[in-house]
Symmetry: C2
Subunit: 143 residues, 2 copies
């Protein structure tokens, strides 16, 4: 059903249970390029396994996020969206509060912050998915 052997191995190694529902949610998110709302994930899961419940989808989205396998995107005024976290393509988002443009930031852009936190607080920042707000170049120039 899934073509994500590596990820599934990773899950097994972490000692978590791999239920068909969980695999399906993972599969749906990983087969999409964009950002899906929980409801959209549910729709697609439901199309393949109609008995799967929406709450199970939610629970698995939370679970997979905690495992670091999916990232979530909380944009102003719309439901939370999820996306795959692909090895080697980890990234964060910077959202322009003025025009809504979104740019992707490389994980490396956070490395100095990571170092700062470790240095000053002994805090190990997780490479979790972040969404930062601000003004994009164009809007900043216009202002």
């Amino acid at each position: 059903m899934s073509c994500h052997g590596t990820i599934i191995d990773q899950l097994r190694a972490a000692g978590v249970r791999l239920t068909p529902q969980r695999a399906l949610v993972l599969d749906v998110v990983y087969h999409t390029d964009g950002h899906l709302t929980a409801d959209q994930v549910y729709e697609r899961v439901h199309a393949q396994s109609p008995q799967v419940d929406l709450s199970t989808v939610y629970r698995n989205l939370v679970f997979l996020r905690q495992q670091g396998l999916i990232g979530e995107l909380r944009l102003e005024g719309q439901p939370v969206r999820f996306e795959a976290v692909r090895a080697g393509r980890e990234h964060h988002h910077a959202l322009c509060t003025h025009c809504g443009a979104m740019l992707e930031l490389a994980q490396a852009d956070l490395s100095s912050l990571q170092a700062t936190l470790l240095d000053r607080y002994g805090f190990h920042l997780e490479p979790v998915h972040l969404t930062l707000s601000g003004l994009c170049q164009a809007c900043a120039a216009a202002a």
Copy 2:
């Protein structure tokens, strides 16, 4: 009713309407040290003006956050919480995903990230309230 003249002036200067409901929400948040859930804000607002609706409280919390006057805290598994953004005491939060400890980060800790984003993307990071996840010193040491 309120003792936040400066902030109110700031709002008027920004050309926004200052309704009693809005002033009350602002007042409640600024008269609390901790982090209040929307519901707690509503309770306190309601105690003073019983006719104010919960949705108005929500709308004003969103509005005041957009104005940068309050910050929000989204902690795993609990409703969103809000807190005052006090001039000179802007800060962010770092949450330990293991023990739940929360430490406050100074705005200055983000300055290098801010510089990086401006430099690499021309993106002007807003000093908005952030919550970062990771491991605190103690938990990291234990692991």
